[in-house]
């Protein structure tokens, strides 16, 4: 009985305390977040940290706060105490707020420190842990499958670990303003649709000829798409062979087959357009549609990957149900796209280079007749230039070409790859450089 009485007394005391507490809480009026933030903004503009600290003390004494405001004030105090040294920032206080809400509070706090031009604190408060980027490991093999049905019947698609399907829904706010991009043709795509799951998966392989990409799109309306009653959707693709290089963007229809390439540089000695080099084929499959894409290595002859390379790779399926992205990137967000890595590259590299040498020699031979004919022409050309400048250069290029054969030794391949491939591939630009120097010499002759 005594114990019951004791417990009873405790309960009474707790209830009383709570009531008193609530009464006290009620005695402290709430203040709206907007008013706090407005006042803080004014004080931060004046960079009056003492006044800010005083204001916060007063606020805490006189008001009760929503959890967001409490976090904001705590971050402000921490930021001021850090005295412009981000390493002195305290860890963000624990809170039950959702991650997205916490992010917003951090953002608002960082903005305050921007007002006071305390940039390092603002920067540190605004940072977050970047999301993990997805990686795809490409096996470099002797022969990749070719075409939709080659891939469909290959072993690769049977291996779950080669199938990539970690797509995220495309940022809806960003999708809503995609109409402002007049460059890429996404017409007919439901870019703001919200699908539950992405039905797309992809595979990538490489061999001595190039990089092959195979995309599967599960679709339960194959006949309607084949008839043209429904859109098959499209794949917006990005590939950047290292962050030092121009990136490639292209749009591949899932069905019917078709591509559009968007160049972000004019073709020049250091950049070759994908136009005319990209192979793309799409076809119906038992479960939907398959899209096969192939990019030859000669596009990248001056930036071939190593086994350490990471190439940004964007795959953004625009389907009837909505848009998705591999990685968290929006269109052109190269640093947020997934990455490609190459496994088994070293052993296959000599074969890759061999093909590049063969193609470069062929490219030169194809370009040569027209250029020679033009400059040697009595009316149209410049026979002095043709004889004194062009001919000796061409002779050198042709002489080195005598070493080319499908059976070249590895050393020959390496030598020609290093010395002659740039000359043969960029022959027309080299001629332009020679011509520029020739004309300048004339223009500046006394």
């Amino acid at each position: 009985m005594n114990s019951i009485s004791f417990i009873y007394r405790i309960i009474i005391a707790v209830v009383f305390s709570c009531v008193l507490g609530f009464a006290q809480e009620e005695a402290r009026p709430a203040i709206d977040s907007e008013a706090i933030y407005q006042r803080l903004t004014e004080l931060f503009r004046a960079k009056d940290y003492k006044e800010i600290q005083k204001y916060i003390v007063e606020l805490k004494a006189q008001h009760q706060f929503a959890a967001e405001d409490a976090l904001l004030l705590s971050l402000v105090e921490s930021g001021i105490r850090a005295e412009s040294d981000p390493s002195r920032l305290e860890a963000s206080p624990k809170t039950d707020l959702a991650a997205e809400t916490r992010n917003k509070v951090h953002f608002k706090t960082a903005l305050l420190f921007m007002h006071s031009r305390d940039y390092k604190i603002a920067d540190a408060l605004g940072r977050t842990v970047p999301p993990l980027l997805p990686y795809y490991i490409i096996d470099v093999v002797s022969h990749s499958p070719i075409g939709v049905y080659g891939w469909l019947n290959s072993d690769i698609v049977k291996h779950a670990d080669k199938r990539e399907s970690r797509f995220m829904p495309y940022n809806q706010e960003a999708a809503a303003v995609l109409y402002t991009d007049v460059n890429a043709n996404r017409s007919g795509m439901n870019v703001t649709g919200k699908a539950d799951a992405c039905q797309v998966s992809f595979f990538v392989s490489a061999d001595p000829y190039g990089i092959s990409i195979y995309v599967e799109n599960r679709d339960d309306k194959v006949d309607e798409v084949l008839a043209g009653l429904q859109t098959g959707g499209s794949l917006e693709m990005y590939l950047q062979p290292g962050f030092d290089h121009v990136y490639y963007q292209w749009m591949a229809n899932i069905y019917p087959s078709g591509t559009e390439v968007y160049d972000w540089s004019s073709p020049n000695e250091h950049f070759r357009s994908l136009k005319g080099r990209l192979t793309c084929e799409s076809a119906p499959t038992p479960d939907g549609f398959g899209v096969y894409m192939f990019i030859p290595w000669d596009l990248f002859y001056d930036c071939l990957p190593t086994e350490e390379s990471e190439w940004a790779f964007g795959v953004l399926p625009w389907t009837r149900d909505g848009g998705f992205t591999w990685g968290s990137g929006q269109v052109h967000d190269l640093h947020k796209f997934g990455r490609l890595k190459f496994r088994g590259l070293n052993s296959m590299l000599p074969n890759i280079k061999r093909m590049i040498v063969l193609k470069a020699w062929a490219s030169f031979q194809k370009a040569l007749p027209a250029i020679q004919s033009f400059w040697n022409d009595e009316i149209r050309g410049d026979q002095i230039f043709a004889k004194e400048v062009l001919a000796p250069y061409v002779e050198t290029l042709q002489k080195e070409g005598e070493k080319v054969s499908a059976e070249m030794a590895a050393e020959t391949v390496e030598e020609l790859f290093r010395t002659m491939v740039p000359e043969w591939n960029e022959f027309r630009y080299r001629v332009d450089t020679l011509r520029t120097a020739f004309l300048k010499k004339q223009l500046f002759a006394e």
Binding site: N103, P130, A174, T180, N268, E269, Q330, H332
Partner: protein
């Protein structure tokens, strides 16, 4: 070599990444990699330097093509450079033409200055030194897609050459944190540096339009850093009255450790360049316009005095003229009030004072009815049964009369319709546009091929978004309309060769009637606007309180239009040659035209193309 650091600030700030938020230390600086690169460069340059100049003078220089695809960063060896060569410029009378070099130092060098001599030819003709302008090419931090694209890739940060500055300290770059800081002044004369590489929502209080930003009036002493390259950009303004011939002068690069005397050779060609005309019709002008944010009313709204605002606008317009941007879009009279009308007319006066084109005006008169009017159910009625937008007469034909009084002539005015209209809005402008046509005005609209289904007949000029082709041009020309392009690409990419090609010869040979891109000058210094919006800052130039800062891409723009002028002259001379009916002349003329039309404009070497055009022109001029 580009230095890139992945700083995932933008995504976090925009709430896109719902990850645990703890303060994350900044990424470690890439100093060791950079130091290794510098050491390799020092070794390479020293090996080439048989004369020992690097040691004796403290620096060497390489002449480089100014407008090229090569991104000249601090650690990029100039593969296309000529070591210790001469600056060479070939230009027509009255033409602006660039030249460039990069400097490389063995040790840090303080206080380097540049002094240019007068130029003289062998007959005693001279060009004063003041006709050579020198600037530092400032490398700063831009988004991951910089140099190539106008899209943001805002999680990437990369060092890119872009600004042409007199005072390299106008912008300070923190290469460890990869941030830019802009020097701004307060009205009381105090100055400080603003962070200008933060996400767009942090852009407080960075507003280029309201901050007081001034570059120096002439090139200030600058520094060289050990093992790094620094690019200088020279712009030769050949006087219109200069005699043709070969002129010689020098550019002295003066450092405490020694002086480099760089020969400067200028070949002044024996002709002036004509107005740019179209490829398909030599009697039709190739119009050079652009969207812009150069508004007198806006400058006044942000607190500038009338005098300062007018001076700022005048300087910007003069710069536009000097960069061949002769018909920038104007500020139309949009809300009926005497004060606003007075401001619009004053802006037009300043435009004229700057020497811009007053024969054809873009966006000088309003062509956009307000949305409430366009959205009204009456717009589905036949045109004859529709009323006009409120105050339409006063805003359009009435104001047109004011413009004519001001200019003393009747210019051709293209009124711009609703921007990127959907097809319903496009059709709903019919009655308003008909009024414009009935009152001697013309209509321009951003558009695409679908316009041919809904409009076309009532569009005098269409500005295609994101694409251009000779086939599109052929369609619009067939019924008398004109066509140009924007967003192919937008402004933003720094690569001056890309800008030159896409605003010049490639567009010209696709039979376009000009270029009207978006946009020459926004008001943003901050490139990191991309998040949901995902675009970079659209700029050819960056605003200052007394004008703007020029960029290498705007130099590319100038060359683009100069290319079209050279092509125009070539075509004019070829036509003359053919008209002589002398077989040899006819052959020469036709061969020139044949060559021009076969130019592979999407990919040819534009510097080679220019010289070849000059060769044809000189040859055709010599025909009798």
């Amino acid at each position: 070599m580009k230095r890139i650091k992945e700083v995932m600030i933008a995504a976090a700030f925009c709430g896109l990444v719902a990850a645990a938020r703890e303060p994350v230390p900044s990424a470690a600086p890439m100093d060791s990699a950079a130091e290794a690169q510098k050491a390799a460069l020092l070794q390479r340059v020293a090996q080439e330097d048989a004369e020992g100049r690097l040691r004796s003078r403290g620096f060497v220089y390489y002449i480089v093509p100014p407008v090229s695809n090569v991104m000249r960063t601090a650690l990029a060896y100039p593969q296309d450079g000529t070591r210790e060569g001469a600056l060479q410029v070939v230009a027509a009378q009255g033409e602006f033409e660039p030249a460039s070099l990069v400097l490389f130092a063995e040790q840090d060098v303080e206080s380097v200055t540049v002094k240019t001599s007068d130029l003289a030819d062998s007959h005693g003709h001279t060009i004063p030194a003041r006709h050579v302008d020198a600037k530092i090419v400032k490398i700063w931090v831009q988004t991951g897609c910089a140099w190539y694209s106008y899209f943001s890739d805002s999680a990437g940060r990369t060092l890119v050459p872009e600004l042409l500055l007199n005072d390299e300290n106008l912008v300070k770059v923190d290469t460890t944190e990869m941030n830019n800081y802009l020097r701004t002044e307060k009205a009381d004369g105090s100055s400080g540096y603003l962070l200008i590489s933060s996400p767009i929502d942090y852009n407080i209080p960075v507003q280029g339009i309201s901050e007081r930003i001034f570059d120096a009036k002439e090139l200030r002493p600058f520094t060289l850093k050990r093992g790094e390259f620094k690019q200088l950009w020279f712009t030769m303004e050949v006087p219109e009255t200069a005699e043709a011939g070969l002129y010689h002068g020098t550019v002295s690069i003066i450092a405490p450790s020694g002086t480099a005397t760089v020969p400067l050779q200028v070949n002044v060609l024996p002709f002036r360049l004509p107005k740019p005309m179209t490829n398909y019709d030599l009697s039709r002008e190739f119009h050079v316009s652009t969207y812009n944010d150069n508004k007198l009313s806006k400058y006044l709204q942000c607190g500038m005095s009338q005098e300062d605002a007018e001076k700022r606008l005048l300087n910007q317009y003069i710069s536009y003229r000097k960069h061949n941007l002769t018909a920038p879009m104007l500020a139309p009279y949009a809300n009926v009030s005497e004060s606003e009308k007075a401001l619009c007319l004053r802006q037009l006066e300043i435009y004229r004072e700057a020497g811009l084109d007053t024969d054809t005006l873009f966006d000088a008169v309003r062509g956009i009815p307000d949305y409430a009017y366009l959205d009204h159910p009456d717009r589905s009625k036949p045109i004859a049964e529709q009323n006009l937008p409120d105050q339409w007469e006063e805003l359009t034909s009435g104001y047109f009369a004011d413009i004519q009084r001001l200019l003393g002539k009747k210019p051709v005015i293209y009124c711009f319709g609703w921007d990127e209209p959907g097809m319903r809005l496009l059709r709903n402008q019919r009655a308003a546009w008909k009024y414009l046509h009935e009152n001697g005005l013309k209509v321009c609209s951003t558009g695409h091929s679908e316009h041919l289904l809904h409009a076309g007949f009532n569009e005098d000029f269409v500005d295609y978004g994101g694409t251009y082709s000779a086939e599109s041009a052929r369609l619009w020309h067939a019924f008398g309309a004109r066509i140009s392009s924007y967003a192919s690409p937008h402004t933003g990419p720094e690569n001056p060769d890309f800008v030159r090609r896409t605003h010049g010869m490639d567009l010209y040979l696709a039979d376009n009637d000009g270029t009207i891109n978006y946009m020459a000058a926004g008001d943003q210094w901050n490139d990191f606007g991309g998040a949901n919006y995902n675009y970079r800052s659209f700029n050819h130039v960056y605003p200052t309180t007394d004008g703007h800062v020029d960029t290498i891409e705007f130099e590319g723009f100038r060359e683009a239009i100069d290319d079209v002028k050279y092509a125009t002259l070539l075509r004019q001379l070829a036509k003359k040659a053919i008209e002589t009916q002398k077989t040899d002349n006819v052959y020469k003329g036709k061969a020139a035209l044949q060559w021009l039309i076969q130019v592979d404009s999407p990919s040819c070497d534009l510097n080679a193309l220019r010289l070849e055009m000059i060769r044809y022109i000189l040859e055709l001029r010599g025909l009798e």
